[in-house]
Amino acid sequence: MTKIMTVERVVAELESGMTIGVGGWGSRRKPMALIGGILRSPLQDLTIISYGGADVGLLCAAGKVRRVVAPFVTLDSIPLEPHFRRARQEGTVAFTEYDEGMFMFGLLAAAHRLPFLPTRAGLGSDVMRVNPELRTVRSPYTEEELVAVPALEMDAALIHLNRADARGNAQYLGPDPYFDDLYAKAAKKTYVSCERVVDTADLLKAGPVQSLLVSRSMVAGVVEAPGGAWFTSCEPDYDRDEERQRRYNKADWREFLDEQ
């Protein structure tokens, strides 16, 4: 059964007020084609869970976001994301700020359908002060106090990979899977955009079996979107478009939509 759909169809399945996870890391392999679809839609009031980059910045700039859940928002080669900064400084979005490792444990907890996972990361820092809902647990074995990172549950996840088949098996060919498999496992519904849709039989022609990152049982929809991570990187298909990112850092965010 094919799950091929358009960006517009994916966006039509989302609703205002949803919690949406976005794969990739910083300015790497972000599902920008799908983000563009949200920017063009009437969706609003979203909670965005992300190792954040321009995905978070654009959605904030377009007024789509109620809350950001992230350990950072950065463009990597440009350390500070301009639109997220403005949104924070103008007080237009709420922010749940976690340590990077806490954030991963939140994804792992949701992927495993656990209510929380314990970690040392975050203890003693102002992450505990600025997120007063966070609780600690005591180890039943050693009495050590640990942060109980709540599961990062999400209504939908958007990820971008190099290849996928029409049923939703998806493959990364770059050096780092990031956390896209965890988003897929954590979300109620996951939508994969990819550089190219191929026959299932052809997946292993491009990479080893370990590159099959996401199973179709986790995937609700597949969008073929060549260049769909642009201007972020999608190795080995393309590197980050640094020149375009520099313009993004200075120009009106709507130019991104015109050029996409």
Binding site: P71, F72, Q89, G101, A121, R129, P175, Y178, F179
Partner: protein, 233 residues
């Protein structure tokens, strides 16, 4: 010389990852230490490859000895076999640092990166800092948002702080910041004036050592474009 002072932070670390974050100087420091006096150190390419050789800045490794995608980097932070050299926009006398936001967190005057991995890094791993601009606006009485833990908040081990003026550690009373050495041409008074809190200053403060000939040669090969100088400019 600042690179050498940063590299010294890794002396004795053995077979762990020396992770330089946020620029040329910290990355060079890890590679220099491995090249010259700490050969078992593990260094990475700045992305996710552990390098078998020690390439120059911006050059891909010829030999790859391991793979460390972000998820394993975050695992390694908790595992602890890692010494990280971080940056900071603010640091206080106990070594609490801020890379998150300036001003009131709820509505900051300046939103910075976010806490990133600083809370876990400082709780679980030895941590050092490289701060290229030693000023009272960075070395503050109290940081606005505690991202990295100080000695008074359960830091695992804060090894040293290297700046453009001096080398410091936390050997002062109650784990407070102590002046270890001043760089050539920098007076103790200048360091004290550039620090926004009372610094522990021993009776005699030596000068930071200069690079050896071997270290200078290695640095010239690792950084032929002089990126380390630009970071200090």
């Amino acid at each position: 010389m600042c690179v050498v002072a940063c590299a010294e932070a890794f002396r004795g670390d053995g077979e762990i990852l020396a992770a330089g974050i946020g620029g040329a100087v910290t990355v060079l420091a890890a590679r220099l230490a491995r090249s010259v006096f700490e050969p078992d150190l593990i260094t990475h390419d700045g992305v996710c490859l552990l390098t078998g050789d020690i390439p120059a800045l911006g050059v891909a490794p010829r030999v790859v000895e391991g793979w460390l995608p972000f998820r394993d980097h975050l695992w390694l932070v908790l595992n602890g076999r890692r010494h990280v050299m971080l940056g900071a926009s603010q640091i206080d006398r106990h070594g609490n640092t801020n890379i998150s936001a300036i001003g009131d967190w709820a509505r900051p005057k300046a939103q910075l990166l976010g806490v990133r991995g600083a809370p876990g890094n400082t709780r679980c791993d030895p941590t050092s800092y490289w701060i290229p601009r030693h000023t009272p606006w960075v070395f503050v009485e109290k940081v606005d948002v505690v991202s990295g833990l100080g000695t008074d908040r359960g830091a695992y081990e804060l090894r040293r702080v290297v700046t453009n003026l001096a080398v410091l550690d936390f050997g002062g009373p109650d784990g407070t910041m102590r002046l270890v050495s001043t760089h050539p041409g920098v007076s103790v008074a200048e360091v004290v004036a550039a620090t926004g809190f009372a610094l522990d200053v021993p009776g005699e403060v030596p000068q930071t050592r200069l690079p050896t000939e071997e270290e200078s040669a290695v640095l010239a090969a690792l950084d032929p474009g002089g990126l380390r100088e630009k970071e200090l400019a």
